[in-house]
Symmetry: C2
Subunit: 354 residues, 2 copies
């Protein structure tokens, strides 16, 4: 009697990143965009006919897929939508990796990949990044059950170009390759064009970073009709309606507003380059970022101590107590005003040490 716990699945819980409710903080720890969503997206929400929420969303997401297809120069049937790119990636892992052969991804990368592998029973191999934190493409020339590469990678902020992807794809014709482009809009190379060349290449993206819509949970994947229809089948075996009606309306408006997208991503990039320059002048060793965050060590300062002191000063950055990167911090690019406070506090910290 009362042995019901024996029938439960054995799950190792994942601990999500810290969120603070405090006011007057500089919150540059979650890679959120410092600028609000497009005014067109805000207008679409304001004008949304909420009476119609009594209906289920359009399961085909016709208007939204059409707008995304137009932006990316593909067809609507090459687009899959999900409840944030975590949902899309988790479904990709379920759909494309049957667990017979191990899949490959870097040792330092998005922390959800191994979590999904464990949840879905998929064996995996971690290939160590090179000493400069670049991906060694030759590692991936193996008999993989699948490959997952975030490009640019997180938290390293480093991106790879077209030659890298072509090279990777030429040696991985027998498995699905996922390129996770969550951060690509801040100066990275997007391989969406290569999905037309490689039927086994799938590219994932999110509205949480460059589109400033983390609060609405919109993710997508772009790939061949074969891959997308497989994803749709898995999704329809799980939950037919994952993207809600308001999110679709806001997402459609956001993707159509190219000017706002271009101007806000350009602002983030300009701020990032300025901050990187200032950090270098303060003996930091930031990597060449193609993302909306900066990954950096310092010539002499202890980054865990620095992270904790900044926290005490209400400046929240991110620290990972993990092998190889335990003396690095990840700093999201905020507004210029936020970054000025961050730099001021950084100088204060460095002076305090001397």
């Amino acid at each position: 009697m009362d042995n019901w716990k024996e029938n439960l699945r054995d799950i190792e819980p994942y601990v999500p990143g810290e969120q603070s409710k405090e006011k007057n903080i500089v919150k540059i720890n979650a890679n959120e965009n410092p600028y609000p969503p497009s005014p067109e997206a805000i207008k679409a929400i304001r004008e949304f006919k909420s009476e119609n929420l009594r209906f289920y969303p359009d399961a085909n997401a016709t208007a939204f897929k059409r707008a995304l297809a137009e932006f990316y120069g593909v067809l609507p049937e090459n687009i899959f939508l999900g409840n944030g790119s975590d949902d899309v990636l988790a479904l990709c892992f379920q759909a494309f990796f049957n667990g017979k052969k191990p899949i490959a991804f870097p040792d330092i990368t998005y922390s959800f990949y191994p979590v999904w592998c464990r949840l879905f029973g998929i064996p995996f191999i971690n290939y160590p990044l090179k000493d400069d934190f670049r991906i060694n493409v030759d590692d991936y020339k193996a008999e993989n059950g699948g490959v997952v590469i975030p490009n640019p990678n997180a938290p390293t902020s480093l991106g790879e170009g077209k030659d890298f992807i072509n090279n990777l794809m030429e040696y991985n014709r027998d498995c699905v390759v996922i390129i996770d482009e969550a951060y690509v809009d801040f100066g990275g190379y997007s391989c969406v064009e290569l999905t037309k060349k490689y039927e086994n290449l799938i590219v994932t993206g999110t509205f949480s970073k460059s589109r400033s819509l983390a609060g609405l949970r919109i993710g997508y994947a772009i790939g061949s009709r074969a891959l997308i229809s497989t994803l749709e089948a898995v999704k329809n075996s799980y939950n037919s309606y994952t993207v809600d009606s308001i999110s679709m309306a806001a997402g459609t408006a956001a993707i159509k507003d190219r000017d706002y997208f271009n101007s806000t991503t350009a602002k983030v990039i300009a701020t990032r380059e300025r901050v990187i320059k200032e950090l270098r002048a303060l003996d930091f060793l930031p990597l060449e970022s193609q993302t909306n965050f900066i990954f950096t060590a310092h010539k002499s300062a202890n980054m865990k101590d620095y992270f904790e002191w900044l926290k005490s000063q209400k400046v929240f950055i991110r620290y990972f107590d993990l092998p190889r990167i335990s003396n690095y911090v990840r700093v999201t690019v905020g507004t210029d005003a936020e970054m000025d406070i961050f730099l001021e506090k950084t100088r204060e910290y460095l002076n305090k040490r001397n």
Copy 2:
């Protein structure tokens, strides 16, 4: 080369119900609510500060869980939230049924249950409903790996009471029992109170029916702290942010507006009772519904033919070409005006036959 399809998972696609984009139709085929969401929910959406969508949602859903807990007389830690009740139920199947022993559910029930079992590798046994479509509780007095009972059941519309649930729970202490209460607010018995008595009982609910928010994708589960924390662990291994910020704001406002909820559910029930009476007068054999839909056969008419003729007349009801129920139809309770059109067309169909 190019054998990548061999590495894919083998999935049997699920085909979701039909949705029509046509105008001027009577759409009583998807169990949607005929009334708009609470004015308070609409106001919460209109007043939502969309600039803040650049932030991730509150992963703890503090305000929303508090409002739900207050409504149901439980604590916030007894509440789990998801992206529609399909998401919540799918996570329950993953979390609570480890596949070692078969789980049990009725032969005629929500069509997603066997789909999830196949997706997650959970064996199952279907116990046939009795001839009157009631559930035989004695069938479930077995060594189950888990039990899933929708109460009221769909598409039968029949509900069971407190004695049935107590009886079921007393004989199932060694597995988790899920009671899916998607339709309970239209006159059924909710066993939320019994989650305090049985630590292995979990109750699921949705905002898509009685709260008129199908477009926003909000589902929940209520249960012991042990069950809820297991669900949270599985969810956090999959996707940390499943309910978006606007959905939480609208959901919180909707749950607080008890008057609107009481008046719209009462209107649906009153319309249902009137339509059932009128259908009986036309020689239909509707079951005693405790839901927002009517499940009925007819003394002489062929229900598939009737369903198809109504469709040609732009009145969309639901027909299931399945064993035992292939001469039944499911009719969602719409507004009185919609049901008058439905009844008029029904009379026209019956006269045409004579």
